[in-house]
């Protein structure tokens, strides 16, 4: 980090040095290894003149007359001051700085601060830890690395989204994702289209190429983010990308290749055939019956008839044993559908600069294929960043990052076309791949299409054969994006500067999808959407930094911010396709089109002042005033202050050389941050395009239709009084360094309360409206974040680092609107993730069994538990605590690093489990099918239940079956499971070739890395990998309904620097 800042400071500062000078040169080496160090900042003390050491650790400086001292600074090393004393050669060796308390970090609005001076918690992630994670999605690369940060990837699909929360959730309807800021420009991390059905869409932070990242820091509390204003109400992830450094061009080339495999599947039964009880006897029912159940006879009791014209199996139709050709019936494994995915990531960059200007250019190409055949995600990135000194006082910088990303995505979730839905319901006696045709060539129609054009699937077209879906239900997306900025900075004096930065994040997102004609079932559909999103961000800053006397420093900033976003989405849907296998809108008979426009505008002014006294007492005061377009005209002004203090006790006590406790600092902060409404246009009533619906099972009627157009009053009631919400956070913490810094402990406690949270409150429909946007909810968060860094062993050649981060939090919904006890966040009518008063945010809500006051299940006279008519909360998807434990062993150039991820607690609704139990394809239905039980509970009269029931006695028919009698997929309570896990999230072995070898190859550095991801997972969850979420990075979580499986991956990479 320090290097970056110095780079900026050094930009072209070696000008106007024309007078009496002396020349000093030398080299800088590592005191431990003796190797030269590249990139050490060499600065003439009291000036801004300096340079970085080159590949061989060498530097050469012209020192103006009157300057006497050189400063040598490098991250992780103690700073060295050398008096020149007339020498022309000064060689320096740098000792390690294990304390690292003077690390410079980037805080809000791009301001930099000495870590020591902060009154709030901030945590950095190293660039190597991001790149070595080998995650396509930057958000996933942060998983388990930062205390207070929870990341959940939605699935293992290429390009799928990941959900990131800093200190839990606050917003009910808006995004809870933190603000992502790249080089001072807030970027869009939105996503659209991740619902209970459809394909896995990306969150837009996926467009950032991790290889371009120089450093990343996470701002958590209100005091840290206040200056960013309302967009950082959920915290901020501050990314600084790589910059050029003065010196000869530096070229880096890297390549990595990883292989992905599905890491966990629900267990299936392999014993019973398709069918159901007929007159009390399990009877085989073949695909021609359209029936979906696997409650048929034992597969062992069936054999083939050998018919060669039977379309559903090459061996012929199934008949009872003894009536066919004696070839026993097969039990097929539908998981053979999955293949190895792979990802190839190629990157090249060149950077450098001269005295006045620097540049960084990079290109990246990532190409991945999924564990589902045909699935892809590709990302091409190009970046240029350059800075120059126009005059001695005026610096200009600009950056442009072009990204093209997208892929071929696969239907999933609650969707008759979904891969896992069709695959997991498939009966064991049906072979989706048709005798190896599908696995040999996933596009071979032999697997999914019959000779007459009908779909070949186990229910003859009701649910799609997975091979049908990947070929006949295409979905592609294509994003073109430019993130860039231009900035000017003018140094009025050495203690005052003004700067201006105009940033933009512009992208278009074109999506094309189709459901092909499914003869007998569907006439086909083509749907297109084209989204154009334009963000404009303007920052004007005046910065003041001055020492008063030797002990007091004042560092202040005032600024103005303007933000404008405009998102236009044009869509068209065409139904009734004319020809099969042709997925263009021209193929549709009836076409409906629409256009949505979202716009939001923010204006803010802000100020901050930092006071420090004698390097041990620090005080920061800041405030921001925002105006937002999404609030009611009278209530659109938002003001919020923050104050923080840091107190370095050890400095005051003169203990900085103390061998046991050289550093101890206490922090305290209090701050508020406001937020506006996440909806545009919620302040008035509107008549919109009319829609007739309200069935729940079938689509509605969208106007224009019936040869006419129509409008109707929106069922969302306008609220002209809508005002801002405010989150107030109190944060206390301390940072301790023991044993010359070999053990570091950072503990933070925070408690925050969000009031007047803007919520779209459901109204009782008899009001004539279904919702209104109100300032209603109160949501609180409190938690502990503990970071421990240690170096248990350190010798000349070997080092063992153990780093732990621990997070625990409680995220409670204290109140919602008057009379409202719960609000849906995501999910189904039957089971959903909700905000429920008095319950943890995101609680899983649904149907359950009747219980008495003591919590005993109430059992009917027939021995079956009774269903409760009213829905309620059944699970908490929030983990009790999470921890990331990283062990790193370094021996000379070899480094082995293992990141363990532990998540304790947290429930998930395994909707998949309930449904595959219903259909009789799960392992559970194999184990218990012929068993009986006495349900534990009480009868209506309070006496214990003693009535024995058979789970699935065929004599009772399907309706008497335990997994069917409570309705489709059972009731919510039957499918709630704990997701606790321990996993080896990352394993990295990397080896840097010795200088002797690299020099011989004419290279600077060569690093070889082996990376493994998710190589080991321990969990009792019965479905797929419980790190999953049906609804992507939406606010709801804890839902698994035929989600795509997650993956484990392993691969290697090489990075060469010249």
């Amino acid at each position: 980090m320090k290097r970056v800042l110095l780079t900026l400071a050094l930009l072209g500062l070696m000008v106007g040095i024309a007078f009496a000078q002396s020349k000093v040169n030398g080299s800088v080496t590592d005191a431990e290894s003796g190797e030269p160090i590249q990139g050490v900042a060499v600065l003439i003390k009291g000036t801004t003149i300096g340079m970085f050491t080159d590949n061989d650790g060498k530097y050469s400086l012209e020192v103006p007359e009157g300057n006497t001292t050189l400063l040598f600074t490098f991250l992780g090393k103690k700073t060295v001051e050398e008096t020149i004393g007339g020498r022309s050669t000064i060689n320096v060796s740098l000792e390690p700085d294990f304390l690292a308390i003077d690390e410079v970090v980037v805080t809000a609005v791009g301001l930099e601060a000495n870590r020591r001076s902060l009154g709030y918690s901030i945590q950095n992630v190293k660039a190597d830890d991001i790149v070595n994670a080998r995650e396509t999605n930057l958000v996933n690369a942060l998983n388990s690395k930062v205390a207070g940060v929870t990341v959940v990837s939605s699935s293992g699909s290429p390009g799928s989204s990941a959900n990131i929360r800093i200190r839990g959730s606050v917003s009910i309807n808006g995004s809870n994702s933190p603000l992502f800021v790249v080089d001072g420009v807030p970027i869009d991390n939105s996503e659209s289209g991740n619902g209970v059905a459809g394909v896995d869409q990306s969150n837009r932070a996926i467009d950032i190429n991790p290889n371009d990242i120089e450093s990343l820091s996470v701002l958590k509390g209100a005091a840290a983010t206040a200056l960013y204003g309302i967009r950082a109400a959920n915290g901020a992830v501050i990314i600084t990308t790589k910059s050029g450094k003065s010196g000869k061009p530096r070229i880096t080339v890297s390549a990595s290749y990883t292989v992905d495999r599905a890491n966990k599947f629900p267990e299936r039964q392999t014993t019973f055939a398709q069918g159901r009880p007929v007159s009390g006897v399990p009877t085989y029912r073949d695909p021609f019956t359209f029936e979906g159940f696997s409650w048929g006879p034992a597969i062992a009791d069936l054999e083939y008839d050998g018919a060669t014209d039977y379309p559903f199996d090459v061996n012929g139709a199934l008949v009872p044993r003894g009536q066919g050709n004696g070839v026993p019936a097969n039990s097929y494994d539908p998981y053979d559908f999955f293949v190895d995915g792979n990802t190839l990531d190629l990157n090249a960059s060149v950077s450098g600069g001269n005295g006045r200007s620097t540049y960084y250019l990079s290109a990246g190409r990532l190409a991945s294929t999924g564990i589902v055949p045909n699935a892809t995600f590709n990302r091409n990135t190009f970046k240029v960043k350059a800075g120059t000194k126009i005059t001695e006082k005026l610096t200009a910088e600009m950056s442009a990052n072009f990204i093209n990303s997208g892929g071929y995505r696969i239907q999933r979730g609650s969707n008759l076309d979904g891969i896992m839905l069709g695959l997991l319901r498939t009966t064991p006696t049906f072979d989706n791949g048709n005798n190896g045709a599908g696995s040999a060539d996933p596009t071979d129609k032999a697997a999914f299409e019959l000779a007459n054009g009908d779909q070949r699937s186990y229910r003859y077209g009701v649910y799609d054969n997975p091979y049908w879906t990947i070929n006949k239900n295409p979905f592609t997306d294509d994003v073109n994006r430019v993130i860039g900025y231009a900035s000017l900075k003018y140094e009025l004096t050495d203690w005052l500067n003004i700067s201006y930065k105009l940033g933009t994040d512009f992208f278009t997102d074109r999506r094309n999808g189709a459901f092909d004609i499914n003869p007998g079932w569907s006439v086909g559909e083509v749907y297109n959407s084209f989204r154009s999103s334009t963000d404009l961000n303007s920052d004007f800053l005046i910065q003041f930094n001055k020492n008063f006397g030797s002990k007091v420093n004042v560092n202040a900033t005032v600024g103005h911010n303007y933000f404008n976003t405009r998102v236009i989405t044009q869509s068209s849907t065409g139904t009734t396709l004319a020809a099969p296998d042709f997925y263009h809108i021209s193929n549709a008979t009836d076409i409906q089109a629409g256009e949505g426009i979202f716009q939001r505008e923010l204006v803010g002014v802000f100020g901050t002042a930092n006071f420090s006294y004698d390097n041990f007492l620090f005080l920061n005061v800041s405030a921001r005033q925002d105006w937002s377009s999404t609030l009611g005209p009278e209530n659109n002004s938002i003001f919020y202050p923050a104050v923080s203090a840091g107190f370095a006790i050890t400095e005051l006590l003169g203990m900085s050389e103390n061998p046991i406790l050289p550093y101890a600092k206490l922090r305290a902060s209090w701050g508020q941050v406001g937020n506006d409404a996440p909806f545009a246009y919620a302040t008035a009533n509107y008549f919109g395009s009319a829609f007739s619906g309200g069935d729940g099972f079938i689509s509605g009627l969208s106007y224009p239709v019936f040869g006419t157009n129509a409008f109707e009053l929106s069922s969302a009631l306008g609220n002209s009084l809508l005002g801002p919400e405010t989150t107030t956070t109190l944060e206390l913490g301390g940072e301790l360094k023991f044993f010359t810094g070999r053990l570091g402990l950072d503990v933070t406690y925070y408690s925050s309360t969000s009031r007047d949270v803007v919520v779209s409150v459901d109204l009782p429909a008899p009001t004539g409206f279904t919702s209104v946007v109100q300032n209603a909810a109160t949501i609180s968060n409190r938690g502990w974040e503990i970071v421990l860094n240690s170096t248990p062993v350190r010798t000349k050649d070997f080092e063992w680092n153990l780093d732990v981060n621990f997070t625990t939090y409680e995220n409670t919904v204290d109140s919602l609107a008057e009379g409202i006890t719960q609000i849906g966040l995501a999910g189904f009518t039957s089971t959903s993730s909700r905000a429920v008063v008095g319950e943890p945010y995101g609680a899983i809500f649904g149907s359950g069994f009747q219980r008495d006051d003591n919590g005993n299940m109430i059992i009917g006279d027939d021995g079956w538990p009774l269903q409760d008519g009213q829905t309620r909360v059944f699970g908490d998807p929030n983990p009790d605590w999470l921890a990331g434990i990283r062990n790193t062993f370094t021996f000379k150039g070899l480094s082995v690093s293992a990141l363990l991820d532990i998540r304790q607690g947290g429930d998930m609704w395994c909707g998949t489990c309930g449904v595959i139990n219903y259909f009789g394809t799960s392992k559970e239905t194999e184990d218990l099918r012929n068993e009986t039980t006495i349900f534990e509970g009480v009868k209506a009269d309070g006496t214990p239940n003693t009535t024995e029931v058979a789970y699935a006695d065929p004599a009772n028919g399907l309706g008497g079956n335990y997994w069917i009698r409570y309705g489709f997929g059972g009731i919510t309570e039957m499918s709630i499971f704990d997701t606790s896990w321990i996993r080896l999230r990352e394993l990295t072995v990397s080896y840097s070739l010795p200088k002797s070898v690299t020099n011989a190859l004419n290279a600077g550095d060569i690093t070889l890395t082996f990376s493994g991801r998710n190589l080991w997972l321990q969990t009792d969850y019965p479905g797929i990998d419980p790190e999953t979420n049906l609804t992507g990075s939406s606010n709801g979580f804890g839902l698994d309904y035929f989600n795509m499986p997650n993956t484990r991956s392993f691969g290697g990479s090489i990075r060469v620097t010249f």
């Binding site: 029936e291 201006y500 303007s538 103005h560 303007y562 139904t575 009734t576 008979t589 009836d590 256009e595 716009q599 505008e601 204006v603 105006w627 377009s629 005209p633 545009a680 246009y681 008035a684 509107y686 008549f687 919109g688 009319a690 829609f691 007739s692 619906g693 309200g694 069935d695 729940g696 099972f697 079938i698 689509s699 009627l701 106007y703 239709v705 019936f706 129509a710 409008f711 109707e712 009053l713 009631l717 109204l763 009782p764 429909a765 008899p766 009001t767 004539g768 279904t770 009379g819 009518t829 149907s847 269903q867 008519g869 829905t871 028919g957 399907l958 309706g959 009698r965 409570y966 489709f968």
Partner: protein
């Protein structure tokens, strides 16, 4: 120093002016919607929502409990076992009914009153009456007098079912009065997708609906309900041509909801074997118009013989068939001669044959007779049984209402029909209120449950007690 502040002021002020000059309130005006629209633009929405409500989820589930349909997969199987939880009708109640068609009615009534447009107001009141009538027959007590008040009443109370039925008749009377006024310029025309703005047709429809909702109360009002129904029938439409038909389209954008269900939820709902067997046993000529014989399904995209589940099948808000069965039953209640009753009964059956495009003359003569039936009860059963066969596809809810108020046809409840939602195990007597009410309108919901009885499927509602 002066220069510094000069530079800062100029740069800062000009940027601030440039970037903040846009009016924030202006930005928050939705460019994709209107703040007001004309009556003619709301009218189609109101009518299509009314038609959609009539043949959507409530119709199918009424068909299931009346054993004309049977669940084959997924939720429909649960419904067949009377596992019809409180979430079942959230969509209908919220999007279809109150914040759907009734909201549109309210928009039209308010606007028409302000603009002096009696026909718009009249049609909206007739539609509103029918929607409340259907809803109260299914749920019992429902919000009525405090409904649709927006921000002014966010927890509308439930009215007793008796008051709702009275309110339905009052709304119909108001509708008739409004439609009887002289036409004014700017009245409904092509935007009236049902009658093209014809006032007389709406008046006839209003009378037909009055007859229906009078007849719902035979259990309460006995013969006087029938007398009132007969009086209304005198002013109702006199042939199928006068029916308030909503015409759907032969595509997947504007198709009939029952056809939509067949297409979008394939193979989850099939014809009940009980009903199919009955049609076969009776030699009912409507068999091929009701059942796709290959698949025993109510729907087949290719089979154009199926009357009610074609994409372009029209749905009448109330059919001529129904009027004739109401008449037959009302005549029975009021002591008319068997011959008069038979005339009405056979007219109803014939109208049903014609609506289904089949030749049923012999069937009507053979079956449309009260011969050999001595008691009123036997004759009532006969009329309701014939209505049951004739209402298939067009008026499932009315069959369920007939069953609840007369006990016919006699059906055997599903063997697995006993559960927490239906302790008695009998055929459901009402639907559970949607879960949104218990969650969002808890006080009013609690009061309704206290007054009407537990929110269960076998709790009796006032009208059919």
């Amino acid at each position: 120093m002066k220069k510094i502040f000069y530079i800062i002021s100029v740069v800062g002020l000009s940027l601030t002016m440039f970037l903040s000059s846009c009016d924030l309130a202006e930005t928050n005006i939705d460019p994709t919607r209107l703040s007001d629209v004309s009556l003619s633009l709301i009218m189609p929405s109101m009518l299509s929502q009314a038609a959609y409500n009539q043949s959507g989820n409530p119709a199918r589930i009424s068909g299931i409990v009346m054993q004309q349909f049977e669940g084959f997969d997924a939720q429909q199987v649960a419904y067949t076992q009377y596992n019809i939880p409180e979430i079942t009708f959230n969509n209908y109640w919220r999007t279809g009914l109150y914040a759907g068609v009734l909201k549109d009615c309210k928009s039209i009534i308010d606007k028409a009153q302000a603009e002096g447009q009696p026909y718009y107001e009249g049609i909206a009141k007739i539609i509103q009456a029918n929607e409340y009538g259907m809803a109260t027959s299914m749920f019992g007590d429902i919000p009525f007098s405090e409904a649709l008040q927006g921000i002014d009443n966010l927890s509308p109370a439930y009215d007793a079912q008796e008051s709702v039925y009275a309110g339905v008749q009052a709304l119909l009377d108001e509708g008739i009065e409004l439609m009887s006024r002289s036409a004014v310029a700017g009245g409904p025309g092509a935007d009236d997708l049902i009658f093209g703005g014809d006032a007389a047709s709406w008046i006839a429809t209003a009378y037909a609906l009055k007859a229906r909702y009078h007849m719902h109360l035979t259990k309460r009002n006995g013969a006087s309900a029938a007398t009132a129904a007969l009086a209304a029938l005198g002013n109702a439409f006199a042939s199928a041509d006068g029916e308030p038909d909503f015409q759907y389209e032969d595509n997947q954008i504007g198709n009939n909801p029952l056809a939509k269900f067949g297409i979008e939820r394939p193979n989850t709902l099939v014809m009940s074997p009980v009903f199919v067997q009955k049609l076969i046993d009776n030699g009912d000529p409507r068999f091929t118009a009701y059942v796709h014989t290959d698949s025993q399904s109510f729907h087949s995209g290719a089979n154009t013989a199926l009357t009610w589940a074609q994409n372009a099948s029209a749905i009448p808000l109330i059919s001529y068939v129904e009027l004739k069965f109401i008449e037959a039953e009302a005549l029975l209640w009021t002591g008319a001669s068997d011959a008069d009753i038979e005339t009405a009964l056979q007219a109803g059956m014939t109208a049903s044959m014609e609506a289904n495009g089949v030749d049923g003359a012999t069937y009507v003569t053979d079956n449309g007779t009260l011969a050999g039936l001595s008691t009123v009860e036997e004759k009532l059963e006969k009329i309701i049984l014939e209505a049951y066969d004739a209402y298939y596809g067009v008026a499932f809810q009315q069959s369920w209402t007939n069953f609840r108020r007369t006990g016919y046809p006699s059906l055997t409840p599903d063997a697995n029909g006993t559960g927490g939602l239906n302790p008695s195990g009998g055929i459901p007597r009402r639907w559970l209120y949607p879960s949104s009410e218990n969650q969002l309108n808890a006080d009013s919901w609690n009061a309704a449950v206290a007054s009407q009885g537990a929110d269960l499927l076998d709790t009796e509602v006032w009208a059919f007690e």
